[in-house]
Symmetry: C2
Subunit: 332 residues, 2 copies
Amino acid sequence: EIYARLKSELLDDPAFDFTDDSRQWIDRMLDYNVPGGKLNRGLSVVDSYKLLKGKELSEEEFFLASTLGWCIEWLQAYFLVLDDIMDSSHTRRGQPCWFRLPKVGMIAVNDGILLRNHIPRVLKRHFKDKSYYVDLLDLFNEVEFQTASGQMLDLITTLEGETDLSKYKLPVYNRIVQYKTAYYSFYLPVACALLMSGEDLDNFIEVKNILVEMGTYFQVQDDYLDCFGDPEFIGKIGTDIEDFKCSWLVVQALARADENQMKVISENYGKADQSCVMKVKAVYKDLNLQGLFSEFERTSYEKLISSIEAQPSKAVQEVLKSFLAKIYKRQK
Amino acid sequence: EIYARLKSELLDDPAFDFTDDSRQWIDRMLDYNVPGGKLNRGLSVVDSYKLLKGKELSEEEFFLASTLGWCIEWLQAYFLVLDDIMDSSHTRRGQPCWFRLPKVGMIAVNDGILLRNHIPRVLKRHFKDKSYYVDLLDLFNEVEFQTASGQMLDLITTLEGETDLSKYKLPVYNRIVQYKTAYYSFYLPVACALLMSGEDLDNFIEVKNILVEMGTYFQVQDDYLDCFGDPEFIGKIGTDIEDFKCSWLVVQALARADENQMKVISENYGKADQSCVMKVKAVYKDLNLQGLFSEFERTSYEKLISSIEAQPSKAVQEVLKSFLAKIYKRQK
Ligand SMILES: [Mg+2]
Ligand SMILES: [Mg+2]
Ligand SMILES: [Mg+2]
Ligand SMILES: [Mg+2]
Ligand SMILES: [Mg+2]
Ligand SMILES: [Mg+2]
């Protein structure tokens, strides 16, 4: 498996003189944090590259595209390890957050940093002689910067004071989602595939915009499903209301609520008590946020399809449509 | 001033759509964490580049070398912000650690990440068209990886259990210092200057080794001065003994102590009580660690000088000697 190969290369990196203890630490840390996600982002690189190439990949091409996919998974692991610390979270992917393990604690901060540092190590080992090597470095750097900037916006908007709903407005919401999630989850995999295909990313600004739109649409779905999805299907019980999250639902509710409903939200949002949660959900239902979401889903889809069909390249259209097909009307 | 220019460019980076709040946050965060050090690392780039060039720098060259110097200061700020969190430190450079400020807290983790992300933004803006651009990215990536790896080694050696002196051995000490401090503080500035001079770093492996040796020598001095230096001169009162630090002194003491002295160390090392500290210091004196240090200083210096004089380039010799002159027999 490719993950195992990349890991063992990292554990033998000559740039650091490992002790047995430190090799073991990294080994365990990687296994705990890197695999185990849905690998959507990673697989997208391979799928997109196949569509762009228009025929089957050679073994070498498959390996390289998968390697970039794994780099995105590494990036994701880095963000999640640190995000869980900042959010004081307890669980992630059905197990305790890495920093919650007794022997880890704040060492997790440095582990996050190491995860991040593994990416250029992998890129250097496998892509150094490629003509697009420097573009790959620039791409990962830019996307990481955007994600960290989105995270900052999220932190200073939603943590400060902790109970100030006045900042939960749609433009803020959109900006957080765009930077914190969409660039690395939606744009980055396709951009990797484009670089491997020899393309210049400057010629794909509109593709970037479309993917960022899709990322936003995906996050709105995520927020919707957190409240109205089937927990059996999603595999977890949503807690956005309890957690005082800047969710699309509360943003829309605040924009539509009358004085009375506003009072209910501000008195009950962010409380763990289930009766508080139910009062907030009742307001959501009264405001017909389910209908609003269906409408949003329909118009987003139509806008996206028409932007996609305006793309000159059929292969690029296919890449974008395959992404959209994966998420349109998803139930989980 | 160059710092002000770089900061304002970052605050207007088109890759992120800043809100007023987030621009203000970064502005404050940078001013709190980036300047205010001794700027040794940053200034070394300019000094080294001057010596390599052999004549005065043009305004443009001065600006570029200073910019790389500031990138190293940014890197340092990133490491320090996160290190203080991991060490639960209270003060840094005479003020509260950034994460200790009431409005900051764990947002400091992401601020550290942002500091790190600023470096490739600066490099892209000012060096993208240089022939050595990709080497600069590789260099910063490699050195960051080594520093984070050294930090890991430090954390898993000195935090685990917190009171296990059995791991404090010279090879471990040397490895931590080499990776955690020497690469970024000593090798990186010179490597930046070499790249600006059009050199290929693969031809300067021995220069790297010399600088890493110097970095180790510097850290041993630091540990020595923490205990035996003049607080008036150093500007702070050392607390390595209280903090259970893996200092060169305790490593040497443990290697030399008889059963009795060993008992004194293990019972008193890492305790805040001043009578405990004094007992440890008494053992250091009985073991004549001051004499050992003088001897270490003398032999290090001789070894370094002869390695330096074996260098084929006179300009490179001068760079290395100027570094060495700055630190040899320093009292602070
Ligand atoms: Mg979180
Ligand atoms: Mg978060
Ligand atoms: Mg969610
Ligand atoms: Mg520290
Ligand atoms: Mg530390
Ligand atoms: Mg010290």
